[in-house]
Amino acid sequence: MLTETTSEKKSNVEQKRKIIKIGLCGNPNSGKTCIFNALTGSRQHVGNWAGVTVEQKEGKVNFGEYEIRVVDLPGTYSLTAYSIEEVVARDFIIKEKPDVIVNIIDSTNLERNLYLTTQLIELGAKTVIALNMHDEAEHKGISIDKKKLGQLLGMPIIPTVGNRGHGIRELLGEVVAIYEKKEPLVRDQQINYGHEVEEELQKIQTEINKDRGLLDGFSTRWLSVKLLERDDEIVKEIRSTFPNQDAILKQVEKSQTHIEIRLNDETEIIMADNRYGFIKGLLQEVYRHRNADRRTISDRIDKVMTNRFLGVPILFGLLWVMFQATFTVGSYPMEWIDGLVGMISSFFTNIIPEGLVRDLVVDGVISGVGGVLVYLPNILILFFFISLFEDTGYMARAAFIMDRVMHTIGLHGKSFIPMIMGFGCNAPAIMATRTLENKTDRMITILINPLISCSARLPVYVLLAGAFFEEKAGNVIFGIYVTGIVLAILVGQLFRKTIFKGEASPFVMELPPYRLPLLKSVLIHMWEKGSIFLEKIGGIILAASIVIWFISAFPRNVEYSKNYSERVASIETQYDSRMATLNNPEEIEIITAEKTSQIDTIQAQQENERISKSYAGRIGKFIEPVLRPLGFDWKAGIALITGIAAKEIVVSTFGVLYQTGVEENEKSDGLREAVKRNMTPLTSLAFMFFTLIYIPCLGTMGIMYRELGSARWTLFAVVYGISLAWIVAFIVYQGGLILGFKG
């Protein structure tokens, strides 16, 4: 996007391009993602949540003779071992050794942002600072002496405005200058921790230096600082790699005791204070702030949005708008896609001769994949709103507003953010729990997240509620979402009272100023999340559709209980003889129609018997006894099993199982009608509840396993999900029967 070379020389240049690897590092809300987008444009690769362990966003940009590879590190306030995100960012810097670090700093918030910078200084990372949102800072009356700050930090400083792309070119130029060691400002800097601490650091360093053989990538001073700060990860590192670990750790302990007696506070606090002392010193030299007291527009907006009376209604109003838009606005493009899928289907029906290949393409691939593709608009709209909440800064307010409610389940407001994100997709939502500091808070938040109905389950509801509840469909779907939320709250309470006893940890979080979202960045975020859905369609859903078609189409030769072709023949002869006596064309028409419908019924019976004797039928019949009390037939059972791979596949399975063998002219009335022939409103309701609760999809299970760090807890999530789903569906179905609904 920045410097594309002319195409004729492109391949030549590409071969010679030097590769520079950079990491983007910065506080949450520092505009890191904007800078990342501005740097890489569309050339980025987002970690695939579904199972593959890519945690970082990566992108590329060509700049002159260089190819710059950009890794977006998680946003952190520090590089201690306090949260997983911090460990991820730190490990990347130490182990992957990027050539240059770009430290993104929010200019309106210099003091706190520089804390992370002090840690980069200590790591000895070659860093360029992007002084981001400097326009906003100027607007607020903040002035920063960039030249002087750069000199004091030993890092070049580039003012940027990420969302407008200002300063990006200069930033890249600086990255190259540092890489080529042509930047005179870069020098090693040290934080001075004061006499007492420095003396002890010396002693630890001496101890470490006695055996330098295993030192790799760590500076001795940095190791000593971290040891003194009681950094768990580094203590582990020392334990596993240093032969003289005992001596080192003993010295560390001695030093800590010494410092704590002398300075009368815990070592970690003293060290942090000194870092802030360093920052305060810097600020005194370079930072001026006029009219610091002014109330900002953001404050005025907050007066309304987080108002004690209005906050909750506004939040629910916005969520309501989100769901309404998802369904009503989404229904138009849905019809277009549906029409398109129908056209493609009949196109292939016409060009491929009748037989297995046509069945595979039309009944397997097109009904399976097409059946899910129609929900793309709904899913994109949902993600659009979630991105909008994040980009405007409203998400943090939602957490604040819901803090009290979340306390009833022993969690705090931050746990609400993964819950809203779960409406989109549970996998990134579970990853978002990393911002929770407390481990048990995090466990509970992860375990209840699958109860928040993700967009992949939406197709199931839209199909079933649309088929059976018509104009009340919207309310039914809203009810299912609410049920999910209520269950999440109840289950959370139960877990807090039984397995994870204790109080919620206290809540504090930054409220970033409201920002007018840029349509482009909201769209990029929407697309990042939505494209995962398309990848699923091309991958797992396509594969599953073919498999489902196969197991339902084979074996081809089944022994039928009745001789269907004989019956058809007998009907034909019967009608033919009757029609021979008729003259009136109207009568002939009526009788012909009667004949066709009778033959169709028999053929449908035959197809039904064939499919029930197919592989799919046999598997379905095997599990049917468990699902009978819920009112599900074996076809629904198969749909639930295949839905474990991805919930959208439930719909694909319906598409394949309910529509094969149905006459072409009937296919046009769609999957809805097909489903109507196979379920009642009551069973569809029980089925929707079961789908809501029963099991996280494979991708989510993968992420859960990674984030919980335990196969046992992941299994626990699966088992409690299935049990709860069965119980809820049982109550709905049997309760419905008692109330006199048709089962």
């Binding site: 201690t80 003091e111 706190r112 606090i269 942090a272 802030y276 206290p506 809540f507 979080m509």
Partner: protein
Amino acid sequence: MPLTLLGIGEKAKIVKLTGHSNLRQYLTELGFLLGNSVEILQQTFGNNLIIKLENTRMALDRTMALHIHIDMIEGGRQC
């Protein structure tokens, strides 16, 4: 006195952080530094607060606010 006692529109300076060292370190990293100014912008029913901390806005609950001790600055504005 703890931050919970500060009224809307009143200003104060942080004089002490209490609690476990992890918690204090976390607060420090967020910018709750001794000597930094705080001002209450909003209060909700559960006594959750939105405060102005130097130049940033922070949301916190009552429990967290109890860990932050402050001294009033003279001439705090009435609101």
